[in-house]
Amino acid sequence: MAVRALLHVPASARIGEVIEIRATVQHPMETGFRVGSDGQLLARNLVRRVEGHFDGERVFAVDLHPAIAANPYLAFPLRVTGSGLLTVTWQGDEGFSHSASARINAP
């Protein structure tokens, strides 16, 4: 299945308002501590870093560790300065790289 991501921004927002961005990406977040049915350790495979950019400016970042649940979910705040494009990027082990964008409408 292709990598799925969900990115939620409010339908519209006022300038100066603080909104909440919610982002989920499909990923097993394999901890590196689990053992498979063959008795072998399952290799660590994580999303390591998630960033939020608004019109090219970084507005959020988080470093993730094995203790973050699979299909990692993040909610972060943003003060609205105008309409623009919000982009969330996910980077991780084994070359994992994914991004999703949503328009913020602040008339």
């Binding site: 959020f60 203790a67 972060f76």
Partner: protein, 144 residues
């Protein structure tokens, strides 16, 4: 009781093998790396988490910090740490004046009943924290 022992053993088997726990020293050193050595004061940070957890695999958690989030006075980063997971670090969130408020949420894994610590480093270098105790129960009737 036989049923309970089998279910408990199976649950731990799928999560960890063998049982791995971070040491208090590892937790202290992880927090020191996050704070830059500054001693945390309790306050301004609120760690929102249910006191009793259905399933340690997916635990919603939110952290709020009392801060105006202006250029002159804001939270630079929020760190979340566990005492008894295999590793002490959970996540480090990077915020700034563009955030507007200091409030983040995620979902984490909790290996067992334990104490969580949330810390915030401010732009003036000061560090604030809150600690919360959480009880984790096990799901019944699992895969293996």
């Amino acid at each position: 009781m036989t049923t309970r022992r089998i279910v408990l053993t199976a649950a731990l088997g799928t999560l960890l093998a063998p049982a791995v726990r971070a040491t208090p020293a590892a937790l202290r050193s992880a927090i020191a790396a996050f704070t830059g050595g500054q001693l945390p004061r309790t306050g301004r940070v609120t760690l929102d988490i249910a006191p009793l957890i259905d399933n340690g695999n997916v635990v919603p958690v939110a952290i709020r910090v009392d801060s105006p989030m202006t250029a002159a006075d804001h939270v630079q980063r929020i760190g979340l740490y566990t005492a008894l997971n295999p590793l002490p670090e959970v996540a480090v969130f990077h915020l700034g004046p563009r955030s507007g408020v200091a409030r983040v949420a995620t979902r984490m894994r909790l290996a067992t009943t334990q104490t969580l610590t949330a810390l915030a480093v401010m732009n003036d270098g000061s560090v604030w924290q809150q600690q919360v105790d959480v009880i984790v129960t096990l799901a019944a009737c699992i895969e293996s």
